[in-house]
Symmetry: C2
Subunit: 195 residues, 2 copies
């Protein structure tokens, strides 16, 4: 058999993905990655300008999809935006479970890096759409709980098949989103003094 040209670049990328998933970005050293690939740390830095570039290349596909979901959301309002945001994010999260697991927890620090410059704004818009562009605290809190919870669930349930995880999350999202067009299911309480 012909030994294919050793795709060191790809091997490093794959090893980094595995390690980042388990021990996080910060918790994984270039030495760790090099050891798993079976090369020197200098080789890792030959293929990638620095550790950050490695992460950026790893996350690029997920970020692209997130960006396109943001475009799709642009102009939509009310229940339509909620539906698209919920279903779109569920699909994205299920598909890019590994990438989400990498970011888990290190989100705030990682967002400072130039590669993730606009992620914060996009996810803010996503959250806003999921809240039905409402200012009600209940709606905004529900949106954040859903986005964060779905992310965490996808990162944790790595071994559940997509076809099982996706419909469960879709159902949950539909149930948990604060309705914005239809009248509220629960009667307004006494604390409706604002607006």
């Amino acid at each position: 058999m012909v030994r294919a040209v050793p795709d060191t670049h790809g091997e490093i990328l794959a090893a980094a993905a595995r390690q980042f998933t388990v021990t996080g970005y910060r918790g994984t050293s270039l030495q760790d990655i090099a050891r798993e690939v079976g090369c020197s740390k200098a080789t890792v830095l030959y293929h990638f300008a620095n550790k950050e570039a490695l992460l950026a290349e790893l996350m690029a596909p997920a970020i692209d999809v997130l960006r396109s979901l943001d475009d799709q959301l642009n102009g939509l309002t009310g229940a339509a935006a909620q539906e698209v945001a919920a279903q779109g994010f569920v699909d994205l999260a299920v598909r890019f479970r590994r990438e989400i697991a990498v970011l888990r927890g290190e989100f705030p620090e990682l967002l400072c890096q130039p590669a993730f410059a606009h992620i914060q704004q996009i996810s803010d818009r996503l959250r806003d759409a999921l809240a039905g562009h409402s200012d009600r605290p209940g709606a905004r809190i529900a949106a954040l709980v859903l986005l964060a919870g779905i992310s965490e669930a996808c990162a944790e349930f790595v071994d559940i098949p997509d076809d099982e995880l996706r419909p469960a999350l879709r159902t949950l999202a539909r149930r948990a989103v604060e309705p914005v067009d239809a009248p509220l299911a629960h009667p307004p309480t006494t604390e409706d003094k604002d607006s």
Copy 2:
């Protein structure tokens, strides 16, 4: 005015809490904490055996409450367990927002430390109760989404008053929990082949 005996121990604890909240446990060095307090790093290590002991003392109250919730849950089943788990966790999360923010993301690594030996099992039982002790993937996924989402929301909305955050989360939890006693709201789909 009498200058009270300088409570360096407490000052270090408070500074650590602030720093951990912002930059995380791993991302905060003993030097950082010492700088904020205005003492030397050696002083920090005079008052606390090591960095881990500092974290442990910081988290102790939250862990106590979590443990008592676990006791309270012991023996409860079905909808009763779901209700207690949901409301109990919401209260705990709202109250210990800062502590949750500290753990944010570094959960997996931090759980390895002896101070947090049983947290994993407790949170597993909590999740199980929230799922109504059901094996249905939908119920288990909903429980995880809720627990993770509530934690994240509490860590993020640090400036929302408790009285606003708590009822919103309670309402959301009640809406999002997969009902286990009452018949399902949504008709069973075609994929009900298991069990």
